[in-house]
Symmetry: C2
Subunit: 170 residues, 2 copies
């Protein structure tokens, strides 16, 4: 019989774990984003997708998923919701029948212009409780950590993929 008792376990096994803190901070970040942007019917993911499509007009869904590091399957429904809201449109690619090219509509460009300053305020609010110097330190370390751990995620960021839809010579 394994009668050896459990080692002393406290909630610190959860509260002090990096994974828990990242989850918690993500919850808080989404909450602040949604609160600031409640006048706009737009989620953080949808916002990132709009930015990426604006920055890379004519990108396809697979490359978009690489550029913002979202799962390809998830992105399908995100794109559909953005299309229903008339913020983006999908056009079939003439040279590849599998691909649908993504473009911002006028509505999409307009909402983006309006929401950007609001989002910036939300982003600032997330770090507001820290001293300005600490904010810089935290962001610096996070950028490093996310970059160095890029390959560890299921959907690594591939920012360079974004350029492939612009006539590739190679």
């Amino acid at each position: 019989m394994p009668s050896k008792p459990l080692p002393p376990i406290t909630m610190d096994a959860v509260y002090a774990a990096p994974g828990y803190l990242f989850r918690r901070m993500q919850q808080i970040a989404v909450s602040i984003f949604m609160e600031e942007c409640k006048a706009f019917d737009l989620t953080p993911v949808q916002y990132a997708a709009l930015i990426a499509i604006h920055t890379h007009p004519g990108i396809d869904a697979t490359r978009l998923s690489a550029v913002i590091a979202f799962d390809r399957s998830t992105l399908g429904s995100v794109i559909e919701r953005l299309q229903v809201k008339d913020y983006i449109e999908r056009k079939p690619a003439p040279e590849d029948k599998r691909i649908k090219l993504l473009y911002l509509t006028k509505s999409g460009a307009a909402i983006l212009r309006e929401i950007i300053p609001v989002v910036e305020r939300a982003q600032a609010r997330m770090l507001e409780p820290l001293k300005p110097a600490d904010r810089k330190v935290l962001m610096g370390l996070l950028v490093q950590l996310v970059d160095l751990n890029n390959e560890a995620s299921r959907v690594p960021l591939r920012a360079e993929d974004a350029l492939e839809h612009l006539g590739k010579a190679g």
Copy 2:
């Protein structure tokens, strides 16, 4: 007509945003957790719930949600899955017919004992790319930020709620 063009927007509006980095880091953390723990059929959320139930035997679902800062509705299905796996059991509270008290089963205690060192390795892996000193700085700032932003989240952490199920005198 609003013919004013969009201000210059680059992907840095996404990549450098705290919210995006938190989301990305959370994705990475879950990925590493699941990879390390693939021998155990347990998610990060289920793990945290098991720890909390072990630490607070006889807690009810609502208080559990406050202790680990998970949404009450979400927790319902988490609890059900843990029950199906026979890691926890629910007993009706004699003095309050609304409440169901949560307890670890022997299976639950066993899996917890086995998985804890594996989870610790996963947690270490998340920070591994950073220098040891930087890991401490990052965790310190994160703990601060999560704590100071606690009220900003939809489901604030209420660690003290955990004690209420132990005969309250007030």
